[in-house]
Amino acid sequence: MMFLRLLFESFRRQKRRKSVALLAIALGMSIATAMIAVGTDIGDKINQELRTLGANLVLTPVEDTLDVNIGGVNLKPVSEGAFIPEQDLAKIKGIFWEHSIQGFAPFLSATESVKTHHGETNKGIVDAQKTGTVDAQLIGTYFAQPVHYGKQETITGVRSVNTWWRVDGDWPQDYAAWPTGKPPDALVGSQLAQQAAISIGDLVDVGGYKLRVSGILNTGSAEDQAIVAPLHIVQKILGQPNTVRSVNVRALTKPEDAFARKDPSKMTPAMRDRWYCSPYANSIAYQIHEALPNVRVEQVRQVEQNQGKVFSRVSGLMLLLTLAALLAAALAVSAAMAATILERRQEVGLMKSLGASNAGVAGLFLTEAAFLALAGGLLGFVAGSFLAHRIGQSIFGSSIAVHPVVLAVVIFAAFAVTFLGSAGAVRKAMQFDPAVVLRGDA
């Protein structure tokens, strides 16, 4: 009873001191919360940033002949080689690691002669002086095509896979069939547009079909000299229904290690299960090959081999910084607790001279510390979640969620640093002789 009263009075009388200590703990713990949250979420965030690298897996038909491709210009006749049936592509989303597949984009391309009719609009006004013919690549792909597998629907295409593509004007829609009424939309590469003086809204004539230019595409690579149109439109123009030549797949993968490179056919069943259930590029490639047996799946080594390296560097750095911030938070909270207890030496002296045991005094101070730690930890967690949210918004443009487990960690950390910080000071306060302290000589 007495103990409770002492405790209660201590909080009631020292409101200012207690709130300073509480503030210190709350501040330290909010920073710890924010840093843990940022540190654990940094992986996903950096992976998002690395999406600009594009696909890390590429699918080609097993039976295909060699690519004849110089400077992005495909010299292989469209009739030659093998194809992947378009309707099989949805199976990519049916593999074990379906959630790792962030998107895919099929491609079908051939060199076609393109007739430009400058200034011709839908109304059919043609300036005969300005017509010309150039040879250009015609590339068919998905832009943002809904793909159904089972009951789920995902939207995929170059807009989510090749995020470095920029379009002035509008992205074309993915037509299911040749539209009636007006010509379908397509994109023209920026260099081709400049050379042939094509602008948005113009009509171009590709292989006898009219396409309307809805936007100018800038990619910084070979597509700048090409016409990029919806896949079904290109299949119709090239007379190759339901076919694609290659598929680029963007998958979230775990950086490759020695285990990832092992040959699954030589593993024990247990090892093979572990390999199969790890999101390595190799195991995802293996699973896609299982779903599409006539397809060769290769990792784009330039992307796959390097993104893991960059990724581990950044996460390693954040881990170090998180540890540093946690250490600094622990120090600050300990120092603050020590200061508040040192102030109360006289109280300790009084209690001891009235017959309190060392254990009793320590018990009182540590119980006080526990209350402060609990309150400070909770406050800190709330403030830290907000801080993490703000950091995520301002740096990555997307929120960082704080895992509930962090609450337990933070409360535990608050108790640990508060007790550690108090322990030294309590011990020191108890070492003083009550008589000396009360005389004011200490």
Partner: protein, 368 residues
């Protein structure tokens, strides 16, 4: 003894008489200074280090000329000069050849050693960089389809060449359908001179952009283009990591302030009597304040020097572990760190100073 000497003596005595207390305070300041300096050192070198990691992606700039006017030695020396010290420049040429079976195959000519160095992500079997001059390296798909026995025969415009079907490289791109051969053999076979140069400019995103601008100006008849996919990823990853490290460093600095305030407060509280005696003997508030501030500054200064020395070791270790190359502590940082910690210490000592002013000598000395 004039007042300045007295002040100095008080200062030194205060440290010396309470050696254990001073040491505790010094350690806590040194630890926080270490953390802050480590964060700063990493931050100052981060862009360079992280950009360095992007070298594995290969060429980030491609210079192309019309095939009718190939790259001259003069052009190449200009590219070399602009691309910087850690550059890698590989002139390449391409042609379409036919295998004996009639299949078309793209062949490329390049300095093979440099080409393999540029594309460090390729997995290549049977390659030894130091061994005898390799005639050709064969893409994995070309190596599946073309070889007749252990050799490949190809022809361009009636001229034929035979070479070994190894080493074989895997890239995962359409390069796997190609064969790269020595520039000399390539030119002999096809009569084509290189008109494209793969350039790897190693540096910060801004330096790469500058190099591209300079290349376009120096080679007006050529086109210099960034490989946007790579440069853009580099820009965003490096930029975001930098902001993140900066934000974390700011957080650490806030905590350090908190830590210093607490340390100084307990120091004032413990020594109330000393200050009371000084005041009783006629010291003005100002003198006591400046004495305390000087103590704080001295503590911060020595703590940060110790911290800086510690951080040299730590940053070196971090650099070795995390970037496989040491992050060298920069002497340039010493001054800002010292100044910064003194300023922080003075700021942190303002709170306890108020406490100091409230000291009433009579009360304290009487033991109230």
């Amino acid at each position: 003894m004039n007042s300045r000497q007295l002040l100095l003596r008080l200062l030194l005595k205060a440290v010396w008489v309470r050696k254990d207390r001073s040491l505790t305070a010094l350690i806590s300041v040194a630890v926080v200074a270490t953390i802050a300096t480590a964060a700063l050192t990493i931050y100052s070198d981060l862009e360079g280090k992280l950009s360095h990691e992007f070298r594995g992606f290969g060429a980030n700039v491609i210079v192309t000329k019309q095939q009718s006017s190939p790259l001259t030695p003069d052009d190449l020396s200009r590219i070399d000069a602009i691309a910087g010290v850690k550059r890698l420049v590989v002139p390449v040429a391409y042609a379409v050849a036919a295998s004996r079976g009639g299949a078309k195959v793209v062949i490329g000519g390049a300095d093979l050693e440099k080409l393999v160095q540029m594309n460090s992500s390729w997995s290549i079997t049977g390659w030894s960089a130091t061994g005898k001059a390799t005639q050709a390296i064969v893409g994995s798909r070309a190596a599946e389809i073309l070889p007749e026995g252990s050799s490949i025969n190809i022809s361009v415009g009636g001229r034929t060449k035979q070479f070994a079907a190894s080493p074989v490289f895997h890239s995962g791109s359409d390069e796997d359908s190609r064969i790269y051969m020595n520039m000399a053999d390539f030119t002999q076979l096809s009569g084509i001179q290189p008109s494209t140069a793969l350039v790897r400019v190693e540096g910060r995103p801004l330096e790469i952009q500058n190099a591209i601008t300079q290349l376009s100006a120096a080679l007006p008849d050529a086109e210099a283009k960034p490989v946007r996919q790579i440069t853009q990823a580099q820009t965003s990853v490096v930029g975001k990591t930098r902001s993140l490290v900066l934000a974390s460093s700011a957080v650490v600095v806030v905590l350090i302030m908190l830590c210093m305030v607490a340390t100084f407060t307990s120091s004032v509280l413990e020594r109330r009597k000393d200050f009371a005696v000084m005041k009783a003997l006629g010291a003005s508030n100002r003198t006591v304040n400046s004495l305390f501030a000087a103590e704080a500054a001295l503590l911060a200064l020595s703590g940060s020097i110790v911290g800086y020395i510690l951080v040299c070791g730590i940053a070196f270790g971090i650099g070795k572990v995390n970037f496989e190359a040491a992050i060298l502590p920069q002497p340039v940082l010493l001054l800002p760190v010292l100044l910064g910690s003194v300023v922080l210490a003075l700021l942190a000592s303002t709170a306890p100073l108020r406490l100091l002013q409230q000291i009433q000598p009579a009360g304290i000395l009487r033991g109230e």
